[in-house]
Amino acid sequence: MAVQTLAAAIGTGLRRALQDDPRVVLLGEDIGRLGGVFRVTDGLQRDFGADRVMDTPLAEAGIMGTAVGLAYRGYRPVVEIQFDGFIYPAFDQIVAQVAKLHYRTGGAVRMPITVRVPYGGGIGAVEHHSESPEAYFTHTAGLRVVTCSSPQDAHTMIRQAVACDDPVLFFEPKRRYWVKGDVDEVIDETTMAMDRARVVVEGDDVTVVTYGPLVATARDAALAASDDGISLEVIDLRSLAPVDYETVEASVRRTGRLVVTHEAQQHGGVGAEVAASITERCFHHLEAAPARVTGFDVPYPPAALEDHFLPDLDRLLDAVDRVMGRQNSLSGWRG
């Protein structure tokens, strides 16, 4: 057990993965000498060599396509995409090849590729550096999509992702990279599986479903709401595809109210899918229509406006008031 930042915890997870399996190779731009622009892979090239921790030419389609070839050859590639907004050149390889090869070959070919993507906003960056593209991938059958919110999960889940025989999109909440926490590097049968949701705050009145960077915000909201006598149950989804609906459903059956929040735009997002699925499953248990608190359906704005795009504590509490039937910003709304 040691205190690590979330970024460092992914690094120690990758270090373990490299130690545990000689077929694990890391590929990416600036991941070697520089240790990645967020220093997640710091020291790994020095310790494992340039043939296992490979700086690649500047070409995401090239990185992903060669990862497919390496996987065909029995390797376990871990690809780093430098920023969320730079994954799109690799999109074709991910969606048309990585996601489908196991299916297309009747199970003969496995694609145990992990794609690490720093994502999300709130760091005052220029365009293409703050996006949340997870829904493009959750919409693609054959991909597992996960994200972490704590150093412990970051460490454990990256190791589980690398060990998984399916392709995994691993989204890293970049604005929480510097959050510190205890990390236990032991993985055993008691360790939570990568595709399970975690109840991070227990409560009775409203179920708040979230993931990645907004888990911390939802925890804060639970604290603030409790001052008002409202009890929030916060669920960190962790796996966005597949979704652990059993955990969410069990919670909503008790609370009768659902708020889903993420940074990504609303339309066609994970929140839409969770709200629809839970409505189907728990319709008769619902006391109010599920509410979504998300980024607006606009491109990620320039930094000076990002606070008017990103869901925050107050917008979350406003939605809690709405599902509780309390005074809120839409009271009397006749849109």
Binding site: L34, D55, L58, S329, G335
Partner: protein, 397 residues
């Protein structure tokens, strides 16, 4: 001789769709250099002129006045660049990508362009933007985070820069195809880095440009680095060697020699204007600063290499040239310094004056006309903000 060395054989273009029978023909590419000739240089680092019968004629008209003007441009853009770096350090800008060391590549090429030409660049081409007439405050808007773009592309003949590496090379090619359709002799210029040459987009741009004989100039600033990755990871041969394989002649030029860059760009523009299609220019230069103000180059840069490039400074050699000719007068130095200082002051004041946009503008310009869908989100957010404004002791929300 120059023209024949640079022009692809037109016969080849007419026969591209019937490959049969070409085997026994004369090599259609014989008039292209197997590899580009030695790096073009007209001005050596010590400020002396180098004779070059092929490229010198292209800058014959450049006299002392014009050299002084190029000198002033380079001093001004370096001053602006240093000022912007300082503004970032003071918290005024979120980020800045310095062009230190690349002044000659950018000024020499941009000053060869006509107003009706169109530039497609990456984020580092702030000297190009300056030469295109972009306002000094407009240079820093995006980096301050107060707007999504710095200027109106049509007002200055320069697209909004592409941070997505390499994408703009295809845009330039398409724009050039449009110029041909319109029957005008305007040229599109794509600026990109050595790292970008690995992207599929850049290679596809060359395929399209060759197939459609597009009047585009591929201007690659090989500054030796793509963040921490040396150019040797992107190309095992000189970058300029790649273009001929696509059917595009290339020129390798000393990117720290403003005259050579000017000459090479003029050659490329001339080819494009007379219908000979694309040219690839590799300007060999060096990124003297960090990749951006967030970067820590001490982790990867070789000190000795860095120092050796410091000795090839693009501004110093023009200064020496002027000095050798007795033209570096105190009046000139004073005038150039005053212009640079004034420009820096204007940019700094402009930067300080940039205000965050009005909150609800986050919903603007998503579509060309409003949609009820998004208007609803806007109105709901308006109601939300109003609630905080109305609340006793409420803030901005």
């Amino acid at each position: 001789m120059l023209r024949s060395e640079l022009s692809p054989n037109p016969v080849h273009h007419r026969t591209t769709d019937s490959r049969a029978g070409t085997d026994d023909d004369v090599d259609p590419w014989q008039d292209l250099p197997a590899r580009p000739r030695a790096t073009v240089q007209l001005l050596s680092p010590d400020g002396t002129r180098r004779s070059d019968p092929e490229y010198e004629p292209w800058v014959q008209d450049v006299g002392t006045d014009q050299i002084s003007a190029l000198y002033q441009d380079m001093v001004v853009v370096r001053r602006l660049d240093i000022e912007a770096t300082a503004l970032q350090r003071q918290g005024q800008l979120g980020l800045w990508p310095p062009l230190l060391g690349q002044e000659a590549s950018q000024v020499g090429s941009a000053r060869a362009l006509r107003a009706d030409d169109f530039v497609f660049s990456s984020y580092r081409e702030n000297a190009v933007a300056y030469c295109r007439g972009v306002g000094l405050t407009d240079l820093v808007r995006v980096w301050k985070g107060t707007s999504a773009s710095g200027w109106d592309p049509y007002a200055v003949g320069m697209a909004t820069p592409s941070i997505i590496i390499g994408a703009q090379t295809l845009h330039a090619t398409g724009y050039a195809m449009g110029c041909v359709k319109d029957g005008v002799d305007s040229v599109a210029v794509a600026y990109f880095g050595d790292g970008a040459t690995s992207q599929g987009d850049v290679n596809e741009a060359m395929v399209f440009a060759a197939s459609f004989r597009a009047p585009v100039v591929f201007f690659c600033q090989n500054n030796q680095w793509a963040i921490s990755e040396p150019v040797s990871l992107q190309a095992v041969r000189p970058i300029a060697d790649r273009a001929p394989g696509f059917g595009i002649p290339s020129i390798r030029v000393d990117g720290n020699d403003v005259l050579a860059v000017l000459a090479a760009t003029r050659v490329a523009l001339d080819r494009a204007r007379r219908g000979d299609g694309a040219t690839f220019i590799e300007a060999v230069t060096y990124r003297m600063g960090p990749h951006t103000t967030s970067d820590d180059p001490t982790r990867y840069v070789d000190k000795a290499e860095h120092e050796s490039w410091a000795g090839r400074d693009p501004i110093l050699r023009v200064e020496r040239l002027l000095e050798l000719g007795g033209h570096l007068t105190p009046e000139l130095t004073r005038a150039v310094t005053a212009t640079a200082d004034a420009a820096a002051r204007e940019m700094r004041d402009g930067c300080h004056g940039l205000e965050p946009p009005e909150p609800l503008s986050v919903f603007d310009h998503v579509y060309t006309s409003p949609t009820s869908w998004l208007e609803r989100q806007r109105r709901q957010y308006e109601a939300y903000l109003a609630m905080y404004q109305d609340a006793p002791g409420g803030g901005e929300g």
